[in-house]
């Protein structure tokens, strides 16, 4: 009882903050929107309470994260069909700056922006849904608060792989060389340089697997048909099949250039994951469980995770000796609740605000589908 009360009291600020941020200061009157708001609010806060009460992070984070991604796809695609009639993006849409800006393209825009003061993306700087400036602000805030924790708590694509990676109880493909996890850095370098030379977002045009579930360029030429085949194959392979077979987030681990780029923000972030060498019995469970190959023998010896760590908490939950914990940089390694709480608050808050809007929209559309036969 005492523990339940303590967990509730620790959750209280989150109850207030999510109430403020999810409502935006006003309660919707339309019944479906009100129902969506209440369901989303209860959903998030129940899982936050469980996170605190049970002392487990990843299993509850994963449920929210996967729901977020699914809701994002529903909301995004419905919005597109409503606005444009289809998921396909035409060149006219691009000329008119109607392409929503995605965080994955950020690394590719930096060199051209520095040298030409232009953003190589067919969106709008301000004033639209997912405007370029708006997403940059979100990215800067996420980088300062979470570092690469963005990938574990805020990326609206990551939940798809996260979900698929949990379908099987045991991996069917094991023993993947961790050195493959350096591949995204090579992809990052390549797409950044090619984007700068060609002044077009290379990764978006040629590789991004998530165009499968968001928007894609209308197929009007052989070149676009090839690009379509590539991203469909990458989605099937890296987002669905390999995560199922390996129980890892393979798109994030082997391809995503944004993830590689975001790893560097872990250097300027307040939080990291530490491994207590006195408690560690070198069972290797953390290494096997990490979705992004961010723990290996070398990092365990150093008492920390690799730069690619998304701070998802899976290793923390998996360690049978409690040797792994969230840590605030500059402080002593502690098994107390304070470092974990200090991380969970900004991480969970960020996720609940980003995801909350998408989940509410998805619920409204599902209600609309059930009552009218159409989500649009």
């Amino acid at each position: 009882m005492k523990r339940t009360l303590r967990s509730f009291l620790l959750s209280l600020p989150m109850l207030l903050l999510t109430a403020l941020m999810l409502t935006g200061g006003s309660i919707p009157r339309e019944p479906s929107r009100l129902a969506a708001l209440i369901l989303t609010y209860l959903f998030f806060n129940t899982f936050f309470f469980l996170m605190l009460h049970k002392g487990r992070t990843d299993r509850y984070r994963a449920v929210l994260f996967v729901t977020y991604s699914v809701a994002f796809v529903i909301a995004f695609v419905s919005h597109l069909v409503e606005a444009r009639g289809s998921m396909a993006l035409t060149e006219a849409n691009m000329i008119e700056g109607e392409t929503p800006f995605c965080h994955v393209v950020i690394p590719m825009t930096l060199i051209p922006a520095a040298l030409t003061k232009t953003i190589i993306f067919p969106g709008s700087i301000t004033g639209t849904h997912a405007s370029i400036a708006g997403m940059f602000v979100l990215w800067i805030g996420a980088s300062l608060a979470l570092g690469r924790g963005f990938c574990g708590w805020a990326c609206f694509f990551g939940g798809l792989e996260d979900g698929f990676s949990r379908l099987l109880k045991k991996p069917l493909i094991k023993g993947i060389r961790p050195s493959w996890s350096y591949l995204p850095y090579a992809v990052l370098l390549a797409v950044v340089l090619i984007a700068a030379i060609s002044l077009s977002p290379t990764y978006c045009m040629w590789l991004c697997p998530f165009k499968t579930v968001t928007e894609y360029v209308q197929v009007t030429s052989v070149k676009i048909a090839i690009q379509t085949a590539i991203f469909l194959s990458l989605f099937l392979g890296l987002v669905i099949v390999l995560p199922i077979l390996t129980r890892r987030r393979t798109q994030c681990s082997f391809l995503c250039p944004f993830g590689a780029f975001q790893s560097f923000t872990n250097k300027v972030n307040a939080f990291d994951i530490r491994i207590d060498p006195d408690r560690c019995v070198k069972c290797g469970l953390c290494t096997k469980s990490c979705p992004t190959f961010s723990i290996d023998e070398a990092s365990i010896k150093k008492g920390t995770t690799r730069l690619s760590c998304m701070k998802c908490g899976k290793c923390v939950d998996t360690c049978p000796k409690g040797a792994i914990a969230y840590h605030v940089k500059g402080t002593q390694l502690s098994r107390g609740i304070l470092p974990r709480m200090l991380f969970l608050y900004p991480a969970f808050l960020f996720m609940s605000i980003m995801a909350g809007r998408q989940i509410q929209d998805a619920i409204v559309r599902i209600i609309r589908l059930v009552t009218t036969g159409s989500m649009i």
């Binding site: 030409t116 003061k117 067919p122 605030v328 808050l349």
Partner: protein, 152 residues
Amino acid sequence: MKKLLSVLGYGWAVITIFIVLATFIGNNYFSKKFAGATGVTVSPWFSGGEVTLVVEHGAYRVSVHRPVFDGLTGERSEGFVQIDWKPAGGLPRVVTESITLPDGERVLVRLDTATGIAEATSESAGVLGVERAYKLRDGWAVRVLLRRLRSS
């Protein structure tokens, strides 16, 4: 020293909550400030570049953008010039517009708004033809491919 680092560490950790709140609550404000401070615009390869001339034709108007040859540093040898016709409701079946290129030559652009077929006629060696016509939400845009001549 350890105590100071601890205080700074915990202080930094607490500040992250406010960073998250500020990111969302102040997103509109920070976006505008960010855009204003950096002065960035969408690449002209996507937006068509700045409009340099507007010609009124009564029921519709024609916007002529500047020629785009922008490279990462310097200019590319090939580019385009974009011409927009708006609004769609005021356009006749066939529209034509004559524009002056940087080399002083003129190019006549003709667009059939029923079929979306456009053609460009010019004596200038810098005009390579029409890339294509784009049906916009409320009008049409045509991009004429150009080669940058040494004198321009």
